[in-house]
Amino acid sequence: MAETPGSALQARLGRAYLGWRSFAANPLAMVGLGIVVTLVLIAIAAPLLATHSPLAQDLSNRLQPPSAIHWLGTDELGRDIYSRIIYGARITLMIVGLVAVLVAPIGLLIGTVAGYLGGWIDTVLMRVTDVFLAFPRLILALAFVAALGPGIQNAVIAIALTTWPPYARIARAETLTLRNTDFINAARLQGASAVRIVWRYVVPLCLSSVIVRVTLDMAGIILTAAGLGFLGLGAQPPSPEWGAMISAGRKFILDQWWIATIPGLAICIVSLGFNLLGDGLRDVLDPKQR
């Protein structure tokens, strides 16, 4: 940690290190990080961690409580719940990752362009944003499914289409406050084009808010995906998606509670993890501390 960094890379790493130290000082944030990292590791190592195949049915062993062989019991078709949870982590991660990767850049782009250029471009883009904001997620998902058929890809698209508007709003609000600062004026006075200013000056400053918002939204995305799965609109059987598992377990909730409860707990823990992580990130990246 040099006081006088010797290169651009060293300067950036120095700042990142200070940010990490600040984050690590927050115990709840570290818990959140731990949960998310665990989720990622489980998803990656699924074949190694699972004890059975998630799709193998064994009708003679159906509805078994947790035991030494089946650590979390079996479901209505005799499939090992533990292994299904493990493989389900992959699906959850994929949904969350795809949505985030689609939603953040689109929202950021639309918001910064609208905020910086102003005028009719701003009006048009913001009204488009309003249109998408007006759609309730599940209704749109139903519409998509009706049009294109059920499945994970369509579920992801439906979620993404209704999730990006708030990011555009956040980005636009930040851009509006930045637009008249002297460092932007200085860039204009050097002859920088609007594209350069938006991409190299405005976007880096909006990134923190967007990252924090994405992390905090993840819980909501997971729940929506689970809801779609619950309605049979998301991942299709026999895919071990957690929401679909809850739906299937509904019928047995009184006597074989583990079939619905365990995927529910998984969703709960992962959502909590993302929330804690998002809170911790916000504390570190908060503009007051810039």
Binding site: G6, S7, L189, G191, A192, P204
Partner: protein, 258 residues
């Protein structure tokens, strides 16, 4: 070098119109240091912003080095005219290192030999290469202003517009920055347009000055006349008296000029 003729800047519409600059006309010779002094709302910053191109809504005629200025400025204009802002904390991008801040103008204009230019610019403003990879929040106010000056000069302009460059700085730091600006002007034969509310700073740095009030130029005079007290307008006299420190008798005679 700079000619301003009948400049008018109006903000807002209807009942909330503000006529920020009214028929402002003045000229600045090449190599001269020209001061615009006035209190808040006098229009001095408005004139500077219109001249720099930051504010495209003006009417009138302005020429720099013989070329008439349009609403949009070509890139060549920015190579010739640069600006230093008042608040050193706000004029540097918080996420860019000093190196990046100085490279930007070079990249925008496609200049080569960038490494040497950056090092030279840092050297000229009295900051060594060890400041190159620091972030703005790691610099003091005076150091940030030096970086802002280096950034303005790295394109080798011939005109420097200075908007209250030392108003946010402590007195001892102000002296250093004023000395730096003084030296740079002599060495590079620059033309300065300096805006300030501080008459003493203007008297120190400029050859000629214009006093502004409520959007108009009230009086134009050269610095020798100012120091000798040879002003003709009561507003100038009032400003001069107020700048010399508190005088109970004088304060009682102050009026609001509209």
């Amino acid at each position: 070098m700079i000619e301003i003729d009948g400049l008018n800047v109006v903000f807002g519409t209807g009942p909330r119109t503000v006529h920020a600059a009214r028929n402002v006309s003045c000229h600045v010779a090449a190599g001269e240091s020209f001061g615009l002094v006035g209190e808040s709302g006098s229009g001095k910053s408005t004139v500077l912003r219109a001249l720099s191109g930051l504010n495209p809504d003006w009417t009138g005629r302005m020429t720099v080095a013989g070329e008439a200025l349009q609403r949009r400025r070509p890139k060549s204009f920015h190579k010739r005219v640069q600006m230093v802002f008042q608040d050193p904390y706000a004029s540097l991008h918080p996420r860019h290192t000093v190196d990046r801040i100085l490279l930007e103008p070079l990249l925008i204009h496609g200049l080569d030999d960038r490494e040497q230019r950056v090092l030279r610019a840092l050297d000229e403003v009295g900051l060594g290469p060890r400041f190159r990879y620091r972030f703005p929040h790691q610099l003091s106010g005076g150091q940030r202003q030096r970086v802002a000056i280096a950034r303005a000069l790295i394109l080798e302009p011939s005109v420097l517009l200075l908007d209250e460059p030392t108003s946010s700085l402590d007195v001892s730091i102000q002296a250093e920055i004023l000395n730096l600006l003084w030296r740079l002007r002599r060495e590079r034969k620059l033309t300065y347009v300096l805006v300030s509310h501080n008459l003493a700073v203007i008297a120190h740095m400029c050859d000629r000055l214009a006093v502004m009030n409520a959007g108009r130029i009230v009086e134009e005079l050269d610095v020798a006349a100012l120091r000798a007290g040879a002003f003709t307008q009561p507003y100038t006299r009032q400003l001069f008296e107020a700048s010399r420190g508190y005088d109970r008798a004088a304060a009682d005679k102050f009026v609001t000029f509209d």
